[in-house]
Amino acid sequence: MIQIKNLNKSFELYNQNNTNINVFKNINFKVDKGEVVALTGNSGTGKSTLLKLIYGSYVISKGDVLIADVNVRKSSPRDILKLRKNKLGYVSQFLRVVPRVPTIEVVIEPLLDIGCEKKIALKKGQEILEILKIPKNLWNLSPLTFSGGEQQRVNIARGFIHNYPYLLLDEPTASLDHNNKNIVLHLIEKAKLNGSAIIGIFHDEIARNKVATREVNLENL
């Protein structure tokens, strides 16, 4: 279960006239196994910020994020890294990879990181790239040269190659055409049935209605 308790986030920008930006206050909700919670609310209400707080990329100002038995705010960097490696996946809108590394290597990295044998990892990598319809002749090229939609699917392949019990999805279908969107929604559905607890941001209403079991609107909290 992912549990968000009285979560507050503000940014203190020292070099910009000491501006203090309050993003949100007292967010409370839980996400159980097999649930897909869609975060909603206008731009600027802190949807991506919330995902980054859960993932540990942002510092929690007040309150707690509990993932299984891990309290994110109280965890050391090493514990967070361990949590990410084994349990907590995150698919962002942007692909950040070492240039010149082939797509297949980029995709299987999460498996290698948990000690999976390379042969098995490669097989799984090929499977997920096939599911996501990335043409075979691109597998050995760096994804940095790909189109936006292809890059996004490489990111998704990375996020879904390992069965993370907890998944954070930031606009996973944003730059995809109809068919590809459905493939990704199907992957999310499958993870949900597998018992993953998922929190996502889906601007596309149709996509959201298809996979979300519940919505949390950050404006009404």
Binding site: Y14, N15, K52, G56, Y58, V59, R78, L81, P99, R100
Partner: protein, 258 residues
């Protein structure tokens, strides 16, 4: 649990007369981790790196290495020959300027082979073969194996230095702006090589750089230095995406895009 760490420096201070090189710095690293040290030039990053490697004598603090036989060595307490031995076997140091890390008057192959011989390799054919494979790994044409590094470009020299240091598979590598002099595409290749070594061989690396894009791709954790002090430390993406200290915020926001 105490025995699990690979390397630990505590309360390191180094003064240059009245000036602070670094002050009261502590860090630790385990096998398979990459630690980045960032800050602008003059912040004490290189001083710190040279102190903890044992190149510079520290004024205060302890430097502990959990060596291959699980014995904990304190660099500030062991004698010079012992330290040099450790530096050759367990550690490696990649200098910012390749001329500081290479022997300029012996061949490229010799530069790599020398390190192998120092750890006991004797078979000439085998040494040459390993040297060739490392030249390939760092994208230096194998036909240049008998050429001296003085005939190489700066970027090639840096790649050769990295090969020379990694060939003996040290457990901890210290790197001072390792990709600074390299063009972008070779830099990428080196980054990938380092990441694979870290994962496959469980090598640990401490990397000093001012290039935040490099640390983002390589480091698990980073420490930010200013005027010889550590002002912020933590998870790499957390420090880069949500820096808490005034100076870290300035440093991160000064970069075009990372």
């Amino acid at each position: 649990m105490m025995q699990d760490f690979l390397f630990k420096a505590s309360n390191i201070s180094k003064y240059y007369g009245q000036n602070v090189g670094c002050k009261n710095v502590s860090l630790d690293i385990n096998s398979g981790e990459v630690l980045g040290i960032v800050g602008e030039s003059g912040s004490g990053k290189s001083t710190l790196l040279n102190c903890i490697y044992g190149n510079l004598k520290v004024d205060e603090g302890d430097i502990l290495l959990n060596d291959k036989s699980k014995t904990i060595l304190n660099f500030t307490k062991i004698d010079e020959p012992k330290l040099r031995l450790i530096q050759r076997s367990d550690l490696a140091f990649v200098h910012q300027n390749p001329r500081d890390g290479l022997r300029m008057n012996i061949s490229a192959g010799g530069n790599i082979g020398e390190r192998l011989m120092a750890i006991g390799h004797r078979n000439y054919g085998e040494i040459r073969e390993i040297a060739s494979s490392w030249l390939e790994k760092v994208e230096i044409d194998v036909s240049r194996i008998d050429d001296k590094p003085s005939t190489f470009s700066g970027g090639m020299q840096q790649r050769l230095q990295i090969a020379r240091n990694l060939v003996t598979k040290p457990r901890l590598i210290f790197m001072d702006e390792p990709t600074g002099g390299l063009d972008v595409s070779v830099q990428a290749k080196i980054l990938d090589l380092l990441r694979n070594l870290v994962r496959e061989l469980g090598i640990a690396a401490i990397i000093v750089t001012h290039d935040l894009a490099v640390v983002r791709l390589l480091a698990d954790r980073i420490i930010v230095m200013q005027n010889g002090n550590v002002i912020e430390a933590g998870l790499c993406d957390q420090v880069l995406d949500d820096p808490q200290h005034k100076y870290s915020q300035l440093l991160v926001s000064s970069v075009l895009q990372v």
